[in-house]
Symmetry: C2
Subunit: 366 residues, 2 copies
DNA sequence: GACTTGGTTGAATCGGATG
DNA sequence: CCATCCGATTCAACCAAGT
């Protein structure tokens, strides 16, 4: 796995900002070489004329030329092409994040599904400090939508469940994220004090995405790099990035920004892992090592059932024989059972889960 | 307006649940006769196998035949047809709400745009008590998405800004709504104790939609009526409803439910009206009524600019003449200006906004 | 009656390694 | 490719029964 990453990485322009059209540049890169894509494409905002606040200050709206599309057709074609190029670049187990607002996200989501991407979640970025609706004609547009999708239905995508749960104070992470918009010191400004990019995303958003759905060393591509939030956070977190940006003024800002970023300590990049990632220990080892004697009795957690350990690492209860899981499932009439947490043994009059013994063995293995 | 509603209402099957296929029934109803459509179509969930909780109990999933579609193509065709029929039914200033999850909402949103609907907001229903992700493989699917769209870009849709603001404790209502899922006493059960419908929506959701985007007496159509949450809330709130439901078992439950609903008192239905809906008061009236004398000077809020009132209700400042709004805009170099809040007059040495005078007139009008 | 405890449930695209 | 087996995994709200 590591070797494969390295070998394909060798031919990749890592930690660089490539100049040019997103689709062309993506098509020039080697197929199946990227772990994750984060894409913040033009939104196709259909603002009619300028928007003004009640106090007459002008809202610096997204009105740059690159954001104008004369019809849904043009936007759909553009969307399909960049998504196609992106999908080609992904490794078999790769995934994509794409962000949008109601102006474009429905078209983007539909094209994404049409191309074979498999939606895993949509995530709502709930802005803690959105711009109010000055005219009082609609709801405050207080969120944007992110679509998280794997390359296809079969892909074994990366999902650091425990790390995300830790980020959320021990409760599993939900599909709605409350994060502030990017302003204050984080918001990049030109020399004239204007914002350097109209839609700079907050680093907190990319932090959660990269911690949650990539591993250190993974290659993250951003085809609409802008001022480089993806690159900056990737560098901090010890991921490799590839940026593509057409406009020189954005590339310049991004390069300066990323050069100033310091990578976190390696220890800080280590995230909580799930039990699934730990080495497998067969129950029979507990018997071989003498931690449990053949003939010793195990008791279910609630104390209602019992079974006898046999020398080959199977259990027997009445006429039922089999693994700790099989016997537990049978006794409970359940479709499955985790024997490690179901069974206990007696020591000094107390019932101890057998999983304690497995943890002892795992500790010795390190 | 009222007459028109009544005349078209006369030929409409109001406050009834129509049996049959949504598209067929909609096409049999008169064109341009409905103020609002709320649609909760099948989501096309593509569930593979069974799902069990960590305690081995089985999740009662949506496996009904009405949610099964063979392909995206079939689902898209279905979506396009019901949306087309729905749009035909809407009055020129009508609007639609459609709810979905990531399985279907992107396709629905794109078709909706393709048909000429004009998206006003998408609204995220953040569930306070969603079902967790039992396998730890994704984010908790904690929200559903509602799309609010007018019949076309030009439609003067209904939006009770002040009422929604009041519902939200004086703060402008945002595009993310935190509401609990429908359970407890509100959840309708069959005689055997099973849920009567797998996807019953909470009344709080419909309450907010109907208070916010309809007026008393409006006709609200729900083409996927189910157990009739839309009808129940419409009746409470003094709106007329039309339900369409294919399955008899759901119709029966809905009829019984709605019969038991009591309409709120008329007084309770009176919602805060937005300033926009308040009677318009021409500035000239202030002059006609002698509240301001011709020749009197007005001062801008910051005191830097001044202008003189003329007998015809226009202002003059240096060589600029025009309405309170036009002169204010010109003096500020702004494209627009709300003259009512921009200009003040002197009384007893103090600067008083001219809007105070407008409010006096409005108070007298009631 | 107040409080605690245990059981149930909700629109869900919910494994992975080994042989 | 398929079959088999291991074994990891849940939050908030409501309700009924017990203390």
């Amino acid at each position: 796995m590591k070797t494969k990453t390295r070998s394909s990485a060798a031919s990749l322009p890592l930690n660089q900002i490539l100049a040019g059209d997103s689709i062309d540049v993506m098509n020039s890169l080697p197929e199946g070489s990227v772990d994750l894509i984060f894409a913040d494409p033009p939104y196709n905002l259909q603002l009619r004329g300028d928007l003004h606040r009640p106090d007459n200050s002008k809202v610096d709206a997204v009105d740059d030329a690159w954001d104008q599309f004369d019809s849904f057709k043009v936007y759909d074609d553009f969307t399909r092409e960049w998504l196609k190029a992106a999908r080609r670049l992904l490794k078999p187990n790769g995934a994509i994040w794409a962000i949008g607002s109601y102006h474009n996200v429905y078209r983007m989501g539909a094209e994404l599904q049409n191309l074979g991407f498999w939606i895993l979640n949509d995530v709502v970025w709930r802005k803690s400090n959105p711009m109010p609706n000055f005219r009082g004609k609609r709801f405050t547009n207080a969120h944007e939508t992110l679509i998280w999708a794997s390359k296809n239905e079969a892909a074994k995508y990366t999902f650091n469940y425990e790390a995300l749960k830790s980020l959320n104070e021990g409760i599993q992470m939900r599909s709605d994220w409350v994060l502030p918009i990017c302003n204050g010191g984080e918001r990049l400004k030109n020399e004239d004090g204007d914002k350097a990019h109209p839609t700079q995303k907050p680093e907190s958003l990319l932090h959660r995405i990269l911690v949650g759905t990539t591993n250190p060393g993974d290659v993250v591509l951003d085809p609409f790099f802008g001022t480089g939030t993806t690159g900056a956070v990737a560098k901090m977190l010890g991921r490799e990035f590839i940026g593509i940006e057409r406009e020189e003024k954005y590339r310049k800002v991004a390069e300066k920004r990323i050069a100033a970023v310091r990578k976190f300590d390696k220890d800080a990049l280590h995230v909580s892992t799930s039990k699934r990632a730990e080495p497998r220990v067969p129950f029979g080892q507990l018997v071989e090592r003498g931690m449990l004697r053949p003939g010793e009795e195990l008791y279910s957690m609630n104390g209602r059932k019992k079974a006898k350990v046999r020398a080959d690492g199977t259990l027997v209860s009445n006429d039922v024989k089999g693994s700790i899981h099989q016997v537990g499932a049978h006794l409970e009439g359940a479709p499955s059972c985790n024997g490690w947490t179901y069974w206990t043994f007696k020591r000094d009059g107390k019932n101890v889960p057998i999983d304690v013994l497995r943890q002892q063995i795992r500790a010795e293995m390190q």
